[in-house]
Symmetry: C2
Subunit: 117 residues, 2 copies
DNA sequence: TACTATACATTGATTTCTTATGTATATTTG
DNA sequence: CAAATATACATAAGAAATCAATGTATAGTA
C-alpha cells in the first residue's frame, strides 16, 4: 500500500467543496478553523485545508445561498459559524452523491481489476 | 443510486492526469483522439475529455519527459502517438497509487459508514 | 453536397487553489 | 513574564488546470 504523510495539492484539488458540505451536513454548524482541524483529524493529516482556500469558498457558498452564518462572541473574539441553508441541504446531497458516484467510476478506470468488484 | 449522463466539470477537475497515465500504462501507446474516445467508452460517456484540456496536458508531460512521442503517417494525415518513458512509468505508478489511496480517504470522509468497510 | 467523424492544435477567460501576508486574542512553556 | 504556539478571522497576487470556442484538414457517410 502506498504511504504518504500528506497528499499532493494536485490530487486534492477539486474536492474541497464536497468535503466542506459533508462536514456541515454532519455537524450542523461549524466555524472555519474548526473545519480545517476536523478534516486534518479525520484524515490523519493526509488532507490539510488551507485558509486561503477555505475562506473564499465559504464566502462564495454564502453568497450563493448555500450556507448561512451566525456570528457569536466568544469572549472578545467573534466566531463565525456556517451551516447549510434549506436549499443548501439539497446542493450538498447532490454534490456528495455525484462525488461518490464519480469516485466509483474513476476507481474502475484506475483499477479495473477491483473497481467494480 | 445517483444517476447522471455526465459528471459536472468541477467534479472531474484534477483527475485528467492520472486517467491519461493509466490508459497509457495499459495500452502502451495511444494518440490523443484515441484517449478521448477510450475514456468516453470506458465510463459510458460519464467522463468526457475535451481537447483543450488534453493536448496541453500531453505536451506538458512530454516536455517534462514523462511521455515520448512517435509520429506516423496514416495516408495523408500524421498521427501522433504518446507513450510513457522509462521514468514516466514510475511517475504513472506513483500518481495512480496516490490517487487510489486518496479516493479511499475521501470516501471515508464523504461516506463514513461504508468507506472503510 | 452536406454533415459527421477523425485528428491535430491554440487562445482567452474562468475557476480554484497556493503562498504569503495581515490582524488580533488566548494559551502554553521555558 | 516573555516568547512561542494555537486559535480565528481575512485578503491578495499569482499559478495552474480546465473550459469553451475556434481553427485547420482529411475521411467517410447520408
Amino acid at each position: 500500500m502506498y504511504i504518504c504523510l500528506m497528499y499532493s495539492k494536485e490530487i486534492v484539488k477539486g474536492t474541497l467543496k464536497p468535503i466542506v458540505l459533508k462536514l456541515l451536513k454532519e455537524h450542523g454548524r461549524m466555524y472555519g478553523y474548526e473545519i480545517t482541524q476536523n478534516v486534518k483529524a479525520l484524515t490523519e493529516g493526509k488532507i490539510q485545508i488551507t485558509e486561503g482556500a477555505l475562506y473564499p469558498l465559504l464566502h462564495k457558498l454564502q453568497a450563493e445561498g448555500v450556507l448561512q452564518t451566525e456570528s457569536e462572541k466568544m469572549g472578545k473574539r467573534v466566531r463565525k459559524y456556517y451551516k447549510l441553508s434549506q436549499s443548501g441541504e439539497a446542493v450538498a446531497d447532490d454534490l456528495i452523491s455525484e462525488m461518490l458516484d464519480f469516485m466509483q467510476t474513476l476507481k474502475s478506470v484506475l483499477n479495473p481489476d477491483y473497481g467494480q468488484a
